[in-house]
């Protein structure tokens, strides 16, 4: 079968060992890129002509917001794969992703409101980005709440997977409806930058940060994945070696 390579690749012991081996290859580049992005964003990038130095929050806010969506998508896709093909490793990926995504959604909310304060004069505005972010946080909390309500890992995996997939279908609808709602009430929206085009000295650090954050997610995911894979395996002989190692 053409699928055998795939199944071998997705077998728990293989995934466990591979994740252990890959983690440093993601973690160090992530650390490097984030430090580079920090230097670029905080020192090298010029102040914005409208927002001065206040715009520098973008270098943590935008990557966090990106993570919130990217992790949710990854989680839901993995959950869907686990649901359809009954693949434990895919469920483990979904389970490992949720807390990471939720925490970055939280960071995106806090940094967004800190950015909003000097611009709006208030920490909270019902602007579409922040509102969508808040709803996304609720989706994450619902997912994790449902997961923890089950004693049995298998059932938790499968039930929460249904929720994740339903959530993924809903995210664009929610986002669209929130934007639509916001356009009616003409509330101020979080303007990312004053100028329509950013000079490279501004956007290159942003790109570096985006990649750095994504790699960071990868590294954390791999560590968590090992834990999740272990808790889904029962008395298999490979565990003994893996745990000792």
């Amino acid at each position: 079968m053409a699928w055998t390579w795939f199944h071998r690749l997705a077998s728990p012991p293989h995934v466990y060992r591979l994740s252990a081996r890959l983690t440093p290859w993601l973690a160090w580049p992530a650390a490097l890129l984030i430090v580079a992005g920090l230097i670029g964003g905080l020192w090298l990038a010029p102040p914005d002509y409208q927002q001065g130095d206040g715009y520098r929050i973008i270098y943590v806010h935008a990557p966090s917001a990106w993570m919130s969506l990217f992790v949710y998508t990854t989680m839901a896709v993995a959950a869907g794969i686990g649901l359809i093909w009954r693949m434990k490793v895919a469920h483990a990926v979904a389970a490992a992703s949720a807390p990471v995504g939720a925490s970055f959604t939280f960071a995106a909310l806090v940094t967004g409101s800190l950015w909003g304060k000097p611009m709006w004069g208030t920490y909270w505005q019902w602007d579409p980005r922040l509102t969508s972010e808040l709803i996304l946080l609720f989706l994450y909390l619902g997912y994790m709440g449902l997961r923890s309500a089950f004693d049995d890992v298998q059932r938790a995996d499968r039930a929460s997977a249904v929720l994740a997939v339903v959530g993924l279908v809903n995210v664009p609808i929610i986002h669209y409806s929130v934007v639509w709602w916001n356009s009616l009430h003409q509330a101020p929206s979080l303007m990312y930058l004053g100028k329509p085009t950013m000079p490279p000295s501004m956007y290159v650090p942003l790109l570096i940060m985006l990649v750095g954050f994504t790699l960071f997610y990868g590294a954390v995911l791999l560590v968590r994945l090992r834990g999740e894979v272990l808790s889904r395996e029962r008395a298999a002989s490979w565990i003994r070696e893996a745990v000792r190692a």
Binding site: V60, S64, L114, P118, R224, G227, S231, E233, R234, A236
Partner: protein, 54 residues
Amino acid sequence: MRHFLDMGGYWPFVWPAYAVTFAVMALNIIWARRLLKRSRKEALRRLTIGGTEK
């Protein structure tokens, strides 16, 4: 340096934003490691209790 830390007067917003983000990252690292450690311990416990299959 003074100038840098002041962030053009935006320091009360810029620095907390960075602090929160990096706190979240640090927590993620700690949580991930704790999860792995706990799962290992748990797996070992299961191996010793339900040691019917080797």
